[in-house]
């Protein structure tokens, strides 16, 4: 399964029984191994399942990383590694460190009468590959399935003249039988239409559009979109009381809380809005305002033109921060519905236009 030799790199080497690993493959594997932090090297290499147990044991991780990479390369040469294996390693690395990328969510729309009940993985892969390779010959596509029914697709793009650039691939995560696609945002916008087309054909959907929901934390995006976060529904069965209710607060009888009722009310409203459990992790929310400027003194600005500005809230964990605004006293409870609707509407890019009877939010045109 030797990879097709690139033109002119190795000269005219005879078709030998000795496997000579492709230089690009070797370089790629080396660079990927160098990227892995030392503490995780053993784990990731074990997950790769390309090197055997014995080989892994002979590997000495506690040396300089360059040497580790060299040793791994040597072992890969023994095992006849190809680009496929290298791409596999790359997917494993990016799955482990998936929070380093910025992910965007796309939603697919089903055509009428197209209830595709049986998702066949083999057919999906085949169709995807065929569609993509029909438009562009030089792509390398790798699939990997994970336990939560997630299919990771790695696509390395090349042009008609150049080989696929393995260092800037696109990653797509798809959960079967859901209309949602998670794509890592790359600078290459030109590949997007082809990728979307291939996905639509492979999954038998009709159309795809971006959902204005972006974050670094892929799991949180999945939680929001699959509605796995804790929404506060009113039921007759209250959930078991959280730990914090029963912890002993410092009961100093000399301290009287003057606004105890108010605080409890604020906590109750916050709980109703945000639910009890942990919030999904988003990093920012962006609001593009196109409303006219309103002030108490008339005539500060000419009120006919909309006042365009953008408000961006960013935080390491935006929703938890919003949840703690009211209890901390920084904002009034209940918070503005523009802030609290983020998880329910599954978006963190908003465009707010002038009120024509109702506040209209629309998809911004990217």
């Amino acid at each position: 399964m030797a990879k097709r030799r690139p033109r002119g790199t190795l000269g005219c080497s005879p078709p030998s029984k000795v496997f000579v690993m492709d230089e690009t493959v070797a370089e790629f594997i080396k660079r990927t191994v160098l990227r892995i932090p030392r503490s995780e090297t053993a784990k990731i290499l074990t997950t790769w399942q390309f090197l055997s147990e014995n080989q892994l044991q002979t590997l000495n991780i506690h040396q300089v990383k360059e040497n580790v990479a060299e040793e791994v390369l040597q072992l890969c040469k023994e095992n006849c590694a190809t680009m496929k294996h290298a791409a596999d390693l790359d997917i494993i690395y990016n799955y482990t460190y998936r929070d380093k990328k910025l992910w965007a969510v796309y939603q697919m729309i089903r055509g009428e009468g197209d209830e595709n009940d049986f998702f066949d993985l083999v057919k999906f892969k085949k169709k995807f590959k065929e569609t993509l390779q029909a438009t562009l010959k030089n792509v390398s596509i790798t699939f990997k399935e994970y336990e939560d029914n997630a299919i990771w697709i790695r696509v390395a793009w090349g042009t008609t003249l150049t080989k696929p650039n393995q260092y800037k691939p696109s990653y797509v995560v798809y959960h079967s039988q859901t209309p949602y696609i998670f794509m890592s945002i790359s600078r290459r916008k030109s590949c997007m239409p082809m990728l979307c087309q291939a996905l639509l054909v492979a999954t038998s959907y009709r159309d795809i559009h971006e959902m204005d929901l972006r974050s670094h934390c892929l799991d949180s995006l999945k939680d929001i979109v699959f509605k796995r976060y804790s929404q506060n529904f009113q039921t007759h069965h209250p959930r078991p009381l959280q730990e914090k209710n029963s912890t002993l607060e410092n009961v100093d009888p000399r301290i009287i809380q003057e606004d105890k009722h108010k605080k409890e009310k604020i906590l109750k409203i916050t709980r109703e809005t945000f639910g009890d459990g942990p919030q999904p992790k988003l990093e920012f929310a962006e609001y593009k305002l196109e409303t006219t400027f309103r002030s108490e003194q008339k005539g500060i600005l000419n009120n006919k033109e909309p006042f365009r500005c953008m408000v961006k809230f960013s935080s390491p964990h935006l929703l938890e921060a919003l949840k703690s605004l009211a209890p901390a006293g920084v904002a009034d409870a209940p918070l503005s519905p523009l802030l609290t609707c983020i998880t329910q509407k599954a978006r963190n890019y908003f465009k707010i236009r002038e009120r024509k009877g109702a506040l209209s939010e629309s998809l911004p045109s990217h």
Partner: protein, 337 residues
């Protein structure tokens, strides 16, 4: 120069002394004795008379002034007293008013009881009985709600509509619950829900929500229960019979297409069968199609075994199939040995 009027014998005032230097002291002393009567004497006693009149007038003036002051004080005192009295009257009136109100309230509260003899009961006993009655009612209501919850479909009215709760279960184990917030308007809308996206909620809602809510709920409940049941079966299989499976279970999000390789012996290495289960009916927990294929290097007798297994897959849920397989294998081993 005010002299107290009640001192007639005080005939040697300082003032008199001063005058005695200038006039006849006899006249003065006479005049001083007759100071009360104050006869007007003309002549050489005119000057002294004038003086004494003046002093007398002064004394009278002083007396009058003092009397006026006292009268004023008395009047003021009387006014104060009158004011205080009126205030007391007012407060008494208010007190009586509040008393009547209190007794009226008490009588109304007591009047809510059906017992005829209100007066003999103490307020504490009344309150305790009411408390007990309320608690009993609440227990009853809670029990009823629990019963509804156990049926799998329960709900609660909210401000704008209703929040429905669908609980799923499989063979005695309670699994996840899913919620739906409905807005009761024309047309009925689903405001938000926690149903996973691979359940065809939109299609079911389109078909049944406006016309027949009961049917909508039962269909949705069937879908959710079946999905939860299939998922539970797959997880149980992986948990309870890991030695029989080669690798993992390959499925999809809806758990209606499962593929796995398995063997009949607990010892590893021998996984001659490949099974593919298709659950065609979204509301059923048993597969509609079960194909078991032997691998190429399997012994010939495996074909029959495969067919038997295939039939088993149709009839029982997955963990049940595998426990049956292990049971037959054991009996075979026992019979063989």
């Amino acid at each position: 120069m005010i002299r107290s009027p009640g001192t007639p014998g005080n005939s040697t005032p300082r003032r008199g002394r001063a005058k005695a230097i200038k006039w006849d002291s006899v006249c003065l002393s006479v005049l001083s004795f007759s100071s009360q009567a104050a006869p007007v004497k003309m002549g050489e006693a005119a000057g002294s008379l004038q003086d004494s009149i003046l002093s007398h007038l002064e004394r009278l003036e002083a007396k009058a002034h003092k009397a006026a002051l006292e009268r004023g004080e008395v009047r003021k005192h009387k006014e104060d007293v009158a004011l205080m009295k009126s205030r007391i009257q007012e407060l008494k009136r208010q007190r009586d008013e509040l008393r009547t109100k209190l007794s009226a309230c008490r009588s109304v509260l007591a009047g809510r009881e059906d017992a005829p003899k209100r007066d003999s009961r103490t307020p504490q006993a009344t309150r305790a009985r009411q408390q007990a009655l309320l608690e009993w009612k609440m227990e009853g209501a809670k029990g009823l709600l629990q019963v509804f919850h156990l049926t799998g479909l329960s709900g609660r009215l909210t401000k704008e509509g209703a929040c429905l709760c669908i609980s799923t279960a499989f063979e005695g184990t309670y699994l996840d619950t899913y919620h739906l917030d409905l807005l009761i308007q024309q047309p009925i809308r689903i405001q938000r829900h926690s149903v996973p996206s691979f359940i065809p909620l939109k299609e079911i809602a389109q078909e049944y929500l406006q016309t027949n809510i009961r049917r909508f709920l039962s269909v949705l409940s069937d879908h959710l229960n079946a999905y939860a049941g299939r998922k539970f079966q797959a997880n149980q299989l992986q948990e309870r019979f890991p030695a029989f499976l080669e690798g993992g279970l390959q499925g999809n999000s809806l758990y209606n297409l499962l593929e796995f390789n398995y063997g009949v012996t607990g010892e590893g290495g021998n996984f001659p069968f490949m099974a593919k289960l298709t659950y065609g009916d979204p509301v059923s927990i048993l597969p509609t199609e079960a194909t078991v294929v032997c691998k190429e290097d399997a012994p010939a007798s495996s074909g029959e075994v495969a067919a038997a297994h295939s039939a088993l897959f149709h009839k029982r849920p997955l963990p049940g199939v595998f426990s049956a397989i292990t049971a037959t294998t054991e009996t075979l081993n026992h019979s063989a040995s």
